[in-house]
């Protein structure tokens, strides 16, 4: 909207232009609104004009006319003002005389509706407590059903895969296995090494007071094998792989890729979910084992520098102190953690909206649900282990 000005680049502004101003005079046919100055947004913003600015018209007047002779430049600011003036004239019962306006301004004004329409509001139906509870219950039941049927589909798909009848593409499975397994080795290793080292450090400082330093091997070994490595690895994988699954599926949804699969009748569970869930479920226990060993190694490195025991002695003490059942327990937990993370992430992804913002929300939600779910599941496992005396 710079046709009346010199459209020079922003920095090359000349001497300050006259501020925009307006005044109302009484003309022969009614009030005449005369404007002058440079009506540009940078120069003066948008001047307000309301119906109250028009004095009560004397009887016999019919229109509000415009005098734009004093105007030197204009853009949106002027059009906005004209629009308000037009509305004000209409509410004062006057016709708005456009003839005095520059032709381009008339064309733009003609595009605008008579009044700014009331904006469409979102449905903000207030729910009472009963409705909310009902909605929540139904939603939870529904969600449980959907997740259960997803899990069932996937299990069935896995069974088929065992018989070599799966429709899953081997290439997808290998890619997913690679991403969920070998690609995660570094981060899982670093985190577990440091956790083992920290455990050994804290344990040694305390155990030294009782001259029971050698039991640091049991502390590090049992803690890593039974709880910490499984949980830490699961949390890492929830953030790393779960978030990626959710984002990938949500993006596929936004690009109508999921729709295309459905139209062809390619089952989403077999094509997308199965490789993802299978690879995380399979890789998670292996990562757990690896993480545990690295954690024990971390403890070993710290202990060697802080206590007076031979490396062989440390290893023998560890092997004696940590029973095999701890590893079995952690291994089983890791399998369930992996399945849960993948299933939750896929479900969150499939449920996401179709915009970029929704992809972000889906990734966040998958990570949050994954981590909280892991901790909750671990608590259940602890109770069960206690009851069974493992």
């Amino acid at each position: 909207m710079t046709q009346q000005t010199d459209p020079s680049p922003p920095t090359a502004t000349a001497e300050p232009a006259a501020r925009p101003a307006w005044s109302l005079q009484t003309g022969p046919h009614g009030p005449c609104l005369s404007v002058r100055g440079a009506w540009t947004v940078p120069n003066g913003g948008v001047l307000p004009f309301t119906a109250a600015d028009i004095p009560p018209p004397p009887p016999g007047t019919t229109s509000l006319s415009m005098d734009t002779a004093g105007i030197t430049a204009w853009d949106s600011s002027f059009i906005s003002f004209l629009w308000e003036a037009k509305q004000a004239a209409a509410s004062a019962g006057l016709a708005f005389e456009q003839d005095g306006l520059p032709a381009p301004a008339q064309r733009l004004l003609a595009l605008l509706p008579p009044n700014p329409a009331p904006p469409a509001r979102h449905d903000s139906h207030k729910q009472n407590l009963l409705e909310k509870t009902g909605d929540l219950t139904l939603g939870t039941l529904n969600e449980t059903g959907v997740v259960a049927s997803l899990a069932l589909d996937t299990t069935r798909g896995a069974m088929h895969a065992l018989h070599g009848k799966s429709r899953m593409r081997t290439k997808d499975l290998i890619t997913d296995l690679w991403n969920a397994g070998p690609n995660a080795l570094l981060i899982v290793g670093v985190v577990n090494f440091l956790i083992g080292a920290i455990l050994a450090f804290v344990g040694l400082v305390e155990l030294r007071r009782f001259a029971a330093e050698i039991y640091v091997t049991n502390l590090v070994g049992i803690a890593c094998a039974r709880e910490i490595s499984a949980i830490m690895t699961a949390i890492i994988m929830a953030g790393r792989t779960g978030g990626a699954y959710a984002a990938r599926i949500a993006t596929m949804l936004g690009n109508e890729e999921i729709d295309a699969l459905q139209v062809f009748g390619i089952p989403i569970s077999g094509y997308i979910l199965l490789p993802a869930i299978l690879s995380l479920s399979l890789m998670m226990p292996l990562l757990y084992l690896y993480g545990t060993l690295i954690g024990i190694l971390g403890g070993f490195v710290v202990s060697m520098s802080m206590m007076d025991v031979s490396p062989v002695g440390y290893w023998i003490s560890t092997v004696n102190g940590v029973e095999l059942k701890e590893f079995v327990f952690g291994f089983i937990k890791a399998f369930f953690f992996g399945s849960f993370i993948a299933l939750a992430a896929c479900r969150v992804g499939l449920k996401a909206g179709r915009s970029a913002a929704d992809v972000g929300i889906a990734a966040t939600r998958a990570v949050v649900i994954g981590i909280v779910g892991i901790i909750a599941m671990d608590a259940v496992f602890a109770v069960m282990a206690n009851a069974l005396g493992i």
């Binding site: 909207m1 710079t2 046709q3 009346q4 010199d6 459209p7 020079s8 680049p9 922003p10 920095t11 540009t40 947004v41 940078p42 913003g45 948008v46 853009d75 949106s76 600011s77 059009i79 906005s80 629009w83 032709a103 381009p104 301004a105 064309r107 733009l108 595009l111 605008l112 509706p113 700014p116 329409a117 009331p118 904006p119 469409a120 509001r121 979102h122 909206g353 179709r354 915009s355 970029a356 913002a357 929704d358 972000g360």
Partner: protein, 264 residues
């Protein structure tokens, strides 16, 4: 007249991705107040040329002069300033999905003008009113249709009162009526805003209806092969590719030259 009539001059521009040449020897002048069409078949580099005009992709060689300034020789800060003269309507609107339509239009104003919120709101209502979208101001992009998204994108493109508007496939994916309305809207906005328009499209009816100058890019030789308004090219061009394109013919009449070049 102090200001020259040419807003953008493109001089011997070559565009490439690595060793792959997209277009070369591209030269044209964009005249003030014109509607300039960048035409050509799919994959000929129309959108790539547009990208280099709006500052997203530097050309490999050649110069793009905006108001006499060599655009790509400026630093990033200066380029951003020049970009404020541009308004771009992307192919599918490219509205920011986490913001409402109104916020989409308001963001450039909030970032680059020092206006109070009520003034910004007023201007947003105005821009959306111009494209007939004032009722959607508080809706999110996911809640409106594709045609509305395009119009909202147009409102965002004119947010800073640019004097050059770039349209990437404005009528792609729109029904003929919506597309014709968008053409009308573009013409009215051109006259009303006094803007110059660059339009990348292969929608022939829309090109014939609105464009008054243009360039035809050839995908095979990677060069522009014709200059002029689409109507003129349709009626008077003797170049086989251009004739086939403009008349929606599925076969290109073979000439000796095309036969000779087929093995290139």
């Amino acid at each position: 007249m102090a200001e020259s009539d040419t807003l953008i001059s493109v001089r011997d521009v070559e565009l490439s991705f690595g060793p792959k040449i997209i277009q070369q020897n591209v030269s044209f002048d964009l005249k003030r107040g014109s509607i300039f069409a960048v035409m050509g078949g799919s994959g000929c580099g129309k959108s790539t040329l547009l990208k280099s005009l709006i500052g997203l992709l530097p050309p490999t060689t050649g110069r793009i002069l905006v108001g006499g300034e060599d655009y790509w020789a400026q630093d990033e800060h200066r380029r951003t300033q020049i970009n404020h003269r541009f308004g771009v309507l992307f192919q599918s609107g490219a509205l920011w999905s986490s913001m409402t339509v109104g916020e989409n239009v308001a963001l450039p104003m909030e970032m680059f003008t020092a206006q109070p919120p009520d003034v910004v709101r007023k201007l947003v209502e105005l821009k959306l009113g111009l494209v007939g979208m004032e009722q959607a101001i508080d809706l999110f992009p996911s809640e409106i249709s594709g045609g509305m998204r395009k119009r909202a994108g147009l409102a965002r493109a004119i947010a800073l009162d640019p004097d050059i508007l770039f349209f990437d496939e404005p009528s792609a994916g729109l029904d003929p009526i919506t597309s014709a309305r968008l053409d009308d809207l573009i013409l009215t906005l051109r006259d009303g805003l006094g803007a110059t328009i660059v339009i990348v499209s292969h929608e022939l009816p829309s090109l014939f209806a609105i464009a008054d100058d243009g360039i035809f890019l050839d995908a095979r030789t990677h060069r522009p092969i014709a200059h002029g308004s689409p109507r003129d090219l349709r009626d008077h061009s003797t170049i086989p590719e251009v004739m086939a394109f403009m008349n929606r013919s599925s076969t290109i009449p073979p000439t000796d030259e095309t036969k000779a070049n087929q093995h290139v």
